[in-house]
């Protein structure tokens, strides 16, 4: 049974791993192939700071909240394992800041130690009058993706550096299932007007004295359009750009200034931080994640496609829950194929 996975970001690699872990012993002929035009460190996932945190509201999408929780619990379970450092996984605490009181988020009981900020703590952030403090997780893409790649390589999964232009391209030659984890480029494979870029830009700095994440919110400008500071294991990420519909993959001087000025206002000590890099990427934004099966007719063949894309700015946050859901869809495809292959019993 051959499975082609399109996309080698956090979604593609984790879905591949989840499927292989669950089914390789049940299906000895299982062969996985990953196709991508970009591999780590050049994927969208590599640019993300890696903080586990969903958006403020799930808009009633309980399914996504559940996938977020599954991901958090899965990662928390790995925190004390010897693999944690290699995975780029560690605990981190920090602040969410608002200019007015807001309802508690869907994830308040998923993270650890969620509480409101005290007035003394808010003194640190003039202009913000309300906020939260909690302990969450960091999963750094530039460590996690290589770790996933190593686990997959150990399992005999093959990688192909190729820009896939159509499902047809990968589904011939005995491929039974295609896993579409192509993120921002899914529209090239199958038009999806709901999928839009949410362009982000970040500045990487050395500021090792910053030990907490700080995410500010401006309810009028929307998510991630307000400064944020996220300390990683090697550098600190400064951000605060979310431009819906902007396809530009060039760093913008205007966005740089906006990030720098707003983050330095938030944390004056950042003025002394050394800039070590800059990056921009396109969050694959969608009103909800597309995670579903589709049977596609390609010539006289039928291919089963499992779509798993549209994770916006919360791909790392939701990835494992989605990988498991994709694996369940794969399992049902496997089941159906086995049932078709089994000859019908005698009719009495």
């Amino acid at each position: 049974m051959r499975v082609a996975i399109i996309g080698a970001g956090v979604i593609g690699l984790s879905s591949a791993l989840c499927i292989h872990e669950q089914f390789h012993s049940l299906e000895p002929s299982l062969e996985l192939q990953v196709y991508a035009d970009h591999f780590t460190p050049h994927t969208t996932s590599d640019g993300a700071a890696g903080l586990w945190q969903p958006y403020l509201s799930d808009h009633g999408n309980l399914q996504e909240t559940l996938w977020n929780k599954e991901t958090f619990d899965y990662l928390l379970g790995h925190l004390h394992s010897p693999a944690a450092k290699e995975m780029g996984l560690f605990l981190i605490s920090g602040y969410n800041l608002f200019t007015e009181p807001v309802p508690d988020p869907s994830w308040k009981n998923i993270v650890l130690g969620f509480r409101n900020l005290t007035p003394k703590e808010l003194e640190l952030f003039p202009g913000y009058s309300y906020g939260w403090f909690n302990t969450a997780l960091m999963l750094e893409g530039r460590s996690y993706l290589p770790w996933l790649t190593n686990r997959l390589t150990q399992r005999g999964v093959k990688f192909f550096h190729k820009k896939v232009e159509s499902f047809q391209e990968v589904s011939g030659d005995g491929v039974d299932v295609v896993l579409n984890c192509s993120g921002m480029r899914s529209g090239d494979l199958q038009p999806d007007p709901e999928l839009q870029p949410g362009r982000g830009q970040i500045i990487k700095v050395l500021a090792p004295w910053v030990k907490h994440f700080i995410i500010t919110h401006n309810l009028k400008s929307g998510i991630y359009n307000s400064p944020y500071v996220i300390p990683g294991s090697e550098f600190t990420v400064l951000g605060g750009i979310y431009q819906h519909g902007n396809w530009s993959e060039e760093n913008s001087a205007k966005d740089h200034k906006s990030i720098w000025d707003s983050c330095c206002q938030l944390l004056p000590a950042l003025q002394k931080a050394k800039i070590v890099g800059e990056w921009c990427g396109l969050r694959p934004a969608r009103p909800s994640v597309r995670l579903e099966r589709e049977s596609i007719r390609l010539g006289n063949l039928q291919a089963e496609v499992i779509h798993n894309y549209g994770h916006g700015g919360f791909g790392i946050t939701i990835h494992w829950g989605c990988a498991m859901a994709a694996a369940r869809l794969f399992g049902s495809i496997l089941q159906e194929k086995k049932q078709l292959a089994t000859p019908p019993g005698p009719r009495l």
Binding site: A84, I92, L112, R115, K120, P208, W209, E234, P268
Partner: protein
Amino acid sequence: MASPKVAVVGAGVIGLSTALCITETCPSCSVTVLSDQFSPNTTSDVAAGMLIPHTYPDTPIHRQKQWFKETFTYLFAISNSAEASEAGIHLVSGWQVFKSTPKEELPFWSDIVLGFRPMSKAELQKFPQHQFGQAFMTLKCDCPPYLLWLEKRLKAAGTQMYTRKVADLWELHSEYDIVVNCTGMGAQQLVGDKQLFPVRGQVLKVHAPWVKQFIRDGDGLTYIYPGIHKVTLGGTREKGSWSLSPDAYTTKDIFDRCCSLEPSLQGAQDIKVKVGLRPSRQCVRVQREVLSQGGVKLPVVHNYGHGAGGFSVHRGTAKEAAHLVEECISALQGSSSRAKL
């Protein structure tokens, strides 16, 4: 007295912060710091510099609380300014965990640190051997940066600093009007204080930049304190030991204890071992004294014996010592005007 000459003996966190407070309360004073060691070779340089107070058995609690509050407020303002990284001051959050519920659930400083609260069951799952815990946020003073920053502020205020071993306070009476004794462990010999005793502490300073939170066992013996560049792992409390040499068995023991609290430390790199002798006393000696020898008087202000809590109360005791210096100046001016009659 136009320009009182004040000598501060000692250049650890107590000596430097006391000198700085004196320049602030007495701008007309000429302040000189004398010490046989400066950063990075002081006892303060070994310490993690965490603002978690040590309780002195014989100092009234309200006084300790006042010292801590003043220190916390002072450093909080620096941490929030553009100077924070240069001064080495940063906020750090984390947990204090106990194997059994402590009899005192609310330490005297719980309302001064930020966000103090008991840990939730979910948070305690990270520490299977511990039954109870407290979560809070406090400040950390990284050394050498903090001491170097104090030195810079002192130089800007016109303070002179000299490497000099002072064997006897009387050496200074002809050059200085007032002597401030911030010699830490050195006070045992310098002023013959038998109530002062060393408590040896060995620590490891390691590279583990993914550790963003502190963890401290309530027994005070095992702790993980993330600094700007290095994480301090500790420690030991060996009362009466004067040895400044690292002990290899202790190194392994500290590492093992810390790894059991935070398994990811197994991946720590570049491990350096340091030893310091906490200048311990039942109460911190912040006190005025007038030494007398053959008709000559020498006003002395003592500020030593901070043991395990130097950083936590340094600014508070420095301010108190600076006030005592002012009192010395008033007394000198009073007696000199009497002499004129």
